[in-house]
Structure formats: structure tokens, C-alpha cells
């Protein structure tokens, strides 16, 4: 990360909790990271690590009983000026509605669930474009349906949908999984966002289609220089897509750094164990894989101290007593682990 650049998005000590009858679930518990303009940031973690909730918080889409209980989400808007704290904005207010879809767009995991089945995909994209009309016309006039439709057809062509004039009139259930996800990407890009959040965009589709969609995202990113937060549990996808990686576990950032360092010089015991536990296409077959012992703790039973300590091979006494903070462990690389704290204190 170069220090002379100012981040596009800066998340600081974000906390999101869900108040349930059974107790308080701290889904995101003090997460901090930055996204630079034009950067592809990979966020990796297992279920319950808070990666999706963090993204929903950025878009102010956390549903009740969930609530942002602390921290800041500073976002630099396109018109310049001081960054706004999205966490302070009203979810239904004019400014948030202008940013959401207009400057920060979301590609959800399941395009089948995200599109309405009773409207054509074209109509849904036209609606989004018309809502953000001022991004095309300086006069603040609302775009006509015809103009918005023309834009949509152009977008469909951009994302590689064949026969775009016919496909805009299709319903989502008439499209294959790959086409549906392409249509979703077209919708997300419709307002030329400066930040795109892709939440497991290829998890629900097949591997050959996934390769197509990943290649498309990579091309579009190069073309428009959009910053992308790429969320996935698939380490292969992260390695191929991201330039900078954030590893999350139980609502906290365990480690972050450039993609090469994370894969070739991981520092945090969780990152190391996670990388060892995946079967590779080159390793020895039919031998026992190194495993991370134990299971992901239940959200009501968050372990005290470092959330990973009950499963950690390098656990020390202090790990259960206090929460380690994110400290530099190498140039450009941070980890929250007591193994490196003395080193950081000394340095």
C-alpha cells in the first residue's frame, strides 16, 4: 500500500451487533481496513467471520435486529471534498441513497434471488439508471425510458451478453446462471461506481462459468479502474483476483497484506493453517491434510481474547486474556497476533 495515496474507503474499528432473544451476536467486532482507488481488495474468511455483514454495513443495508454500534466508514465521494462517514448517514436518507448504487454498487452472491422474477432484467436495470439519472445528464432531468434502455443494451454488450437487444426483455429465470450473473454485473456497473462490492459473486456458478465471470471482472476493472472489494471463501479466487488481501475470522481482521505476502509469507497462525488445509491441484493425493482442529465457535460463545486462540497451534497464556491489535509484521503487512507483538513493541 503506498502511503501517498488517500484511501477511497476507510473502515475503522467497525462494530455491528445483532440483538437476538438468545443474546447479543457481535458479528463484526472492531474491523479496520482501507480500500485504495482502483484496488482489488480480497476479503477472505469462513462462514460467520463477518465479511458479508461488513459489506452490508458499508452500504447501510444491515437489517434489523442488526445495528452498527461503533466505528467509522469514511468514503471519499466522487465530487471531491471531505470524506463522509457512511456509518453516520441515515440508511434511507437522500445522500445514502445517492451513494448506494450510484457510487458503491453490490454484486450479490445469488443473482437468482437478487433479481425480481416478475420484472424483466432490463426493466430492473432501467429503473436503477433512471433513479441515478443525474449521473448522465447535467441538467438534473430524468432520463427517458428509451435512453435508459439504450444504455442498458450497451452495458449488456460490455459484459459479453450475446443478443443484448433480446436479452434485456428476458426474465431472470429465463437466463442461465452465467448470463444472470453478467446481467447483475451490468446492473452494478450501470452508474459507473467508484467502488464495487462483489460478495461471493461466483460461488453459486460452475467452474467454467466462474472462469468467464472472473475474466470479465478483471477486464472491466482494468477498463474502468473501479475499486473492487472481492469477498470469497475460495482462496484460489482470491489469489487470482486480488492485489491486497484481508483475512477475517469471527468479526476481526487476523491479517492483511499484499496478495503475494499473504500466500507466500503468511504470518498469522490462522492464515497459515487455512492455506495448508486446502487440497491443491499439485500436492500429493490420498494423504491426510493438515487440519485446523476444532470447529468455528457458535456466535453466542465467542471465545475471550483472541477469537482464534482455542484452535491455534501457537496459543500462549496471554491469548485468552486480551485481544491482540493489528500490528505491522513486515513492510505493508499487518497481523493481529501476540506472537508478533513483542517484535512490534521493540521495533
Amino acid at each position: 500500500m503506498t502511503s501517498d495515496q488517500t484511501p477511497l474507503l476507510s473502515v475503522r474499528d467497525l462494530k455491528v451487533s445483532f440483538t437476538l432473544d438468545e443474546g447479543l451476536v457481535r458479528a463484526v467486532d472492531g474491523t479496520s481496513f482501507d480500500v485504495m482507488p482502483g484496488q482489488v481488495l480480497g476479503v477472505v474468511g469462513e462462514s460467520g467471520c463477518g465479511k458479508s455483514v461488513t459489506m452490508r454495513a458499508i452500504l447501510q443495508l444491515v437489517e434489523r435486529p442488526g445495528r452498527i454500534t461503533g466505528g467509522e466508514i469514511r468514503f471519499r465521494r466522487r465530487d471531491g471534498g471531505e470524506p463522509v462517514d457512511l456509518a453516520r448517514l441515515s440508511p434511507r436518507g437522500a445522500e445514502m441513497r445517492d451513494i448506494r448504487g450510484g457510487e458503491i454498487a453490490l454484486i450479490p452472491q445469488e443473482p437468482m434471488a437478487a433479481f425480481s422474477p416478475v420484472h424483466t432484467v432490463g426493466d430492473q436495470i432501467v429503473e436503477a439508471i433512471q433513479l441515478h439519472s443525474h449521473r448522465w445528464e447535467a441538467g438534473g432531468r430524468k432520463l427517458s425510458r428509451r435512453d435508459a434502455r439504450d444504455i442498458t443494451v450497451g452495458l449488456f454488450r460490455d459484459v459479453g451478453i450475446s443478443m443484448p437487444e433480446q436479452r434485456v426483455d428476458a426474465f431472470s429465470w429465463q437466463l442461465s446462471g452465467g448470463l444472470r450473473q453478467r446481467a447483475m454485473i451490468a446492473m452494478a456497473l450501470s452508474c459507473k461506481p467508484s467502488l464495487l462490492i462483489a460478495d461471493e459473486p461466483t460461488t453459486a456458478i460452475d467452474v467454467t462459468t466462474q472462469a468467464q465471470v472472473l475474466a470479465l471482472l478483471r477486464d472491466l476493472q482494468a477498463k474502468y479502474n473501479t475499486a473492487i472489494i472481492f469477498i470469497t471463501h475460495d482462496l484460489g479466487v482470491i489469489a487470482q483476483m486480488a492485489s491486497y488481501v484481508v483475512v477475517m475470522y469471527l468479526g476481526r481482521v487476523m491479517e492483511e497484506g499484499p496478495v503475494d505476502e499473504i500466500f507466500h509469507a503468511p504470518k498469522h497462525p490462522y492464515t497459515k493453517a487455512l492455506l495448508r488445509s486446502i487440497p491443491s491441484l499439485y500436492g500429493e493425493t490420498r494423504v491426510a491434510l493438515p487440519v485446523i482442529s476444532g470447529a468455528l465457535p457458535h456466535p453466542f460463545n465467542r471465545p475471550p481474547g483472541c477469537p482464534f486462540h482455542p484452535r491455534c497451534p501457537d496459543v500462549m497464556e496471554r491469548c485468552s486474556a486480551a485481544v491482540p491489535s493489528l500490528q505491522p509484521v513486515a513492510p505493508n503487512q499487518l497481523a493481529s497476533c501476540f506472537l508478533y507483538h513483542d517484535q512490534a513493541d521493540a521495533g
Partner: protein, 337 residues
């Protein structure tokens, strides 16, 4: 452990397996066509080995595996199974009463451990159910057996009076494995057994399956879409595309020298978990055709960059290109994929 098992009589010999689902239309439900979900699949599974069955969604891998359990009735073909008593029977044509004694020998592990366990039954009843329906043992013996099974899959026997909701995804899959093993099966059909699990839990369950296989001399038919997982666990791999088997070979060979362009494309499509290795060239264009209206000739020709005129008209047969290496491609041996 990685050496292929000694050649023996196959435990399972599937020949020309077909399963067509009718497409019906109108009030009278007239049949207007067929979805050829499984369209002439041949493979064998040897005793003690793991055969991986891979393919993308809709390729018929799940339907083929369900035919073997007769969870769906095949339209055509033979499923020859060598029973514990040494007799070879055709599972495709047996009546349900004739199948009953064989049900203890062939068991299944499902993908979703949240859906496959009955939430209203304790582990004792869930895991003990196969024993109950097959009339094995009295209540006391069943309880002892369930305790033994839970220990076998790495759970504490004291858990048997709890309900599935108290367990995590990985633990539930262990429970489902315990249930599949209750009747001492010889063949276990596992349909995507780790794809619903988190990365850190997948490795635990894969290790458990490998350990149980060597301890109990199990034979696995392992159905999955994740190539790295299939590669890790399988002795041989069969690749399916639009209801047909396109390639079958020992694991090292199929990954080293794939002899079908689809297999090669599938492998190239897997994102490598190493940022220094770029997976870019040779991305497969187009989409999987519908099994209700497959293309002419070779089903893969519209997406194949090697396709020649012959591929458009003449459907290739599955042929043995090297000992134990089968492929359904006209160009295999002439072109490197």
C-alpha cells in the same frame, strides 16, 4: 497409500446407464420430449478404491449416482453389483423386495448435513435408523452400535441423546457419515459430501473419509464438482458432460495428460491458490447445452477449440486410448489438449 489398488473383480460395473425424464405439456401431460439426464454411462468401481465422478451442474452425475441406489429408477442399462455373498446382480432390474437385503451394503452420504438429518430425532435415532429399518439388533445393541459409530467418526458417544441442531456443519456431516456406516456397507456413494462445509472443516472430513476407507475397506463413489477435492481423494476419476462420460482415467494420468478437451478446460478453469501462477488462457466460451436438446455429433463440439468437421456430425464413442484410460473424443491421441 497412493498406489492403485490391486486389480480385482469390479464391485460395481455400470453399463450403458440411461435415465430420461419426460417433458410433459398441457392438461393431459402429453410427453413432448425427454431430458436425457444420463445418456449411456459406463464405468466400473473396484473394491476398496475411490472413483471420483465430476462435472458441472446438470451433467447427470447426481442422477447417475442415485440410479445406483435406485433412489431413481434408470430408463435403461445395467448396474451389475457383486454382493457380499459373491453373486452378481443387476441393481437396475431388481424389485424393491429383492433390493431390500442389498440396502445394507450400499449407503449414501448427502451434501447438506442440515437437510439430511431429521431435526426431531436425537443422534441415537438418526444414526440408529438404518439399523431399525433393517431389523438389526434390539434397542440395547443399537445403542451400543451408535456409541461405537460416533467414536469412529470422532464424536463423543455421550452426544447421542442430543439433537442435530446442537452441532456445527462439520459435526453434522460426521453424524451423517456415522449413519451411512451403521449397517457396515461395502459401497458408499457420497454426493458432494464436503461442498457445504467451510474450508477449515473440509480437510477434517476428507481426512476422516480416507481414514475410514482404509480401516473399514470401504469403496467410495465420490460425486463432486470441486476438482482439487476430487483429485485429493480419488484413485480414478470419471468426467461427465451433458449426461455422458467423456473421460475416465487414473487420477495422476487424467491430471497429467487429459485426453478430452473438456477435461483439460475444466482443469484450466480452476483458480489456483497461488498468485504467482496465473490461470488465464484457454477459458471455455459458451455454455453447457441443455440435455433436452443436445448438439449434433460430439456434445462438446460447439465449445471445443479443436473441433473439426467430423465432430459436428459423428458422435464419438468412449474408447480406451491407453490401458485404463477412456475418452470420448475423435481427436484424442492426435492433439494435445
Amino acid at each position: 497409500m497412493s498406489a492403485p489398488p490391486a486389480m480385482s473383480e469390479p464391485l460395481l460395473d455400470v453399463r450403458g446407464l440411461q435415465k430420461f425424464f419426460p417433458i410433459t405439456k398441457g392438461f393431459l401431460q402429453r410427453t413432448v420430449g425427454h431430458v436425457r439426464a444420463v445418456d449411456g454411462v459406463d464405468f466400473t468401481v473396484n473394491e476398496g478404491e475411490t472413483l471420483g465422478l465430476v462435472g458441472e451442474s446438470g451433467c447427470g452425475k447426481t442422477t447417475a449416482s442415485r440410479c445406483i441406489l435406485r433412489a431413481v429408477d434408470p430408463t435403461g442399462g445395467e448396474i451389475l453389483y457383486r454382493t457380499r455373498a459373491g453373486k452378481v446382480v443387476d441393481l437396475a432390474t431388481l424389485s424393491s423386495s429383492e433390493l431390500l437385503p442389498l440396502r445394507t451394503e450400499i449407503q449414501m452420504i448427502f451434501q447438506d448435513p442440515f437437510g439430511s438429518l431429521n431435526p426431531r430425532m436425537t443422534l441415537l435415532d438418526n444414526v440408529g435408523e438404518p439399523l431399525l429399518v433393517n431389523g438389526i439388533g434390539n434397542r440395547r445393541e443399537r445403542t451400543d452400535r451408535v456409541a461405537e459409530l460416533l467414536r469412529l467418526v470422532g464424536l463423543r458417544p455421550e452426544f447421542m441423546h442430543r439433537f442435530p441442531h446442537a452441532f456445527s456443519g462439520g459435526q453434522r456431516q460426521r453424524i451423517a457419515i456415522a449413519r451411512a456406516l451403521a449397517t457396515n456397507p461395502r459401497l458408499v456413494v457420497a454426493d458432494e459430501p464436503v461442498s457445504a462445509l467451510d474450508v477449515s472443516i473440509q480437510a477434517q472430513v476428507l481426512n476422516l473419509l480416507l481414514e475410514l476407507q482404509s480401516r473399514l475397506k470401504l469403496t467410495f463413489l465420490f460425486v463432486a464438482h470441486d476438482l482439487s477435492v476430487v483429485r485429493h481423494i480419488s484413485d480414478r476419476i470419471a468426467v461427465m458432460y451433458v449426461g455422458q462420460l467423456v473421460e475416465l482415467a487414473p487420477t495422476a494420468e487424467i491430471f497429467g495428460q487429459p485426453q478430452h478437451p473438456y477435461t483439460a478446460a475444466l482443469m484450466r478453469a480452476v483458480p489456483v491458490a497461488d498468485p504467482r501462477v496465473r490461470t488465464a488462457d484457454g477459458i471455455l466460451g459458451g455454455e453447457v447445452p441443455s440435455p433436452a436438446a443436445p448438439p449434433s455429433g460430439c456434445y462438446f463440439h460447439p465449445r471445443c477449440r479443436h473441433a473439426v468437421a467430423r465432430c459436428r456430425v459423428e458422435a464419438p464413442e468412449l474408447r480406451e486410448i491407453a490401458p485404463g484410460h477412456f475418452t470420448r473424443c475423435h481427436l484424442a491421441g492426435e492433439v494435445t489438449f
